[in-house]
Symmetry: C2
Subunit: 343 residues, 2 copies
Amino acid sequence: MSANPVLVEVTRGEMVESRHRGAVAVVDADGQTAAGIGDITRLIYPRSALKPLQALHLIESGASAAYQLGDREIALACASHNGQEQHVSAVVHWLERLGLDESALECGTHSPRRSFDREALLRQGKKPGPAHNNCSGKHSGFLTAALHGGHATEAYIARDHPVQQAVLALIGEMAGSSLREAPGGIDGCGIPVAGMTLEHLAVAFSRFVTGDGLAPTRASAARQVYEAMTNEPFLVAGTDRWCTNAIQAGCGAFIVKTGAEGVYCGAVPEAGIGVALKIDDGAHRASECAMGAVLSEISCLKAFFTNPPIELIRTPVKNVAGKTVGEIRPAAAFQQMITDVPG
Amino acid sequence: MSANPVLVEVTRGEMVESRHRGAVAVVDADGQTAAGIGDITRLIYPRSALKPLQALHLIESGASAAYQLGDREIALACASHNGQEQHVSAVVHWLERLGLDESALECGTHSPRRSFDREALLRQGKKPGPAHNNCSGKHSGFLTAALHGGHATEAYIARDHPVQQAVLALIGEMAGSSLREAPGGIDGCGIPVAGMTLEHLAVAFSRFVTGDGLAPTRASAARQVYEAMTNEPFLVAGTDRWCTNAIQAGCGAFIVKTGAEGVYCGAVPEAGIGVALKIDDGAHRASECAMGAVLSEISCLKAFFTNPPIELIRTPVKNVAGKTVGEIRPAAAFQQMITDVPG
């Protein structure tokens, strides 16, 4: 297997200390690869970067309308959230509306992402529950779809549950490549994952914003998901999170969504562009930096992201005492990408 | 820059999800490269993997004897510890012996590594201090050497402080390559770092256990550091830590020491072998796995590590609900390494 190029460098003092390799696919409104770095035909797991596509089923099935979900719930269905009080209470209220509580969630429990929120819970003598899981909004969406479809809510995460079957079929349709024979596994939150290429993933995100080849209900669902994410960016991630800060900085011009193990996806409606990238080693710090470079440096995109905040592209490395001792920055591969692409 | 081989794979379900590249240098008692993977002549920062070498100055300067330090303090000087109660109280007592308190430490403050210890502090209404910093033992060693040498204890972390100058000179001597012209930076705990090759780093760890070419006081200091680490492996890291578990499993046959950004070093006295490895992307999960593979699979070493616990080499990937969904495992590069090396 050939090595992908270095996408992100981590410096310390006078040299580069660590290097992150990876691949990036940028697909245009015609479904063609507008730009690419590395091997975009290798199978990867999209992980949580798929959430905006998974949320389409919640809407096009009619479940969302039946339960009168709004931007807040749809944004949470797309979220890998911090488990801050606002995220958790919104999920709990949503579940109440379904006649359920957080014990119906099968995503498992983990502590909130930020020490501030973990310590606040502890001071209140509370323990985290499944609603604190960063995927609790997506799972509430699955439960909503299961109820609306008349399916069991138990074992809604199983691969053979009608909701998971519908979602997997939908993703294959969006990507133009069935996932039926794809290698599979189990995600961090228990749902099935299927291997896809970055190219197909970027195609899906391009069609997500162009609506090309989508049934009217699906195209409409995609617009609704897009608007929910841009209207409620805090609910998509939270305080000090790259997704939230980037969507806010984009002022509606694009969405981005992180996934575990170094995945990032994005979509830019005015350009008709879908983006999918994966850092080979799975590093989150590098996937953020790489997505910042894609949005701000690639010629077919940078018109849509004017004055990008530098902290979305270059992050200082600080030592324990708070002194800046290095930097996480895009590598030269992105410069190459720009020159390769027609302006 | 050519790509190093994949050393470690992270699987999920039916495929490899993430890949970690890197390089490994294994140097024998003659100072020759006994085995190698990837580019071992590229400069890296050894970070905390250097601590056993940095501790030599504490002993050979006479500071350790003057303050009657024992295995516990020497092990802590080599530690990247968890900040558990045992680590912190031992450091605080050591500083008291110097007539100092933790405010003399210039390493900065961070919370204990484990949530258990963070929550215990919070429940007691306490805040972490500099003694909780994983490097507080090393810094206590620097303070001991500064006092014994009649130097200022303020700014003992500065590159031009006599203790840092002595330590940098010592490391260059051990490696057989001066660090005077090496590219430099600042470590996470504030002390100077200097770029070294993996080859030179492995040479230093080989000489650490063979004593070859070392002055008698330095060779004796190295034996003392080695014994402290193998006698007090808990103080070198702590509960659920790879360094501690591996040193315990080795029953005195080797030491290992982790460093930030994917570095691991090790030394095997009976084989006269020094090991140094770096994961290119800086991932800790991969450096542990790679060191496990080096110790258990390389023909010139595996005789010294009989019945290695499988969890030191292959680690399950679990999802939030606790289900095993994948594995962190050595890649084929290590098999290649074995066949390349005379038995």
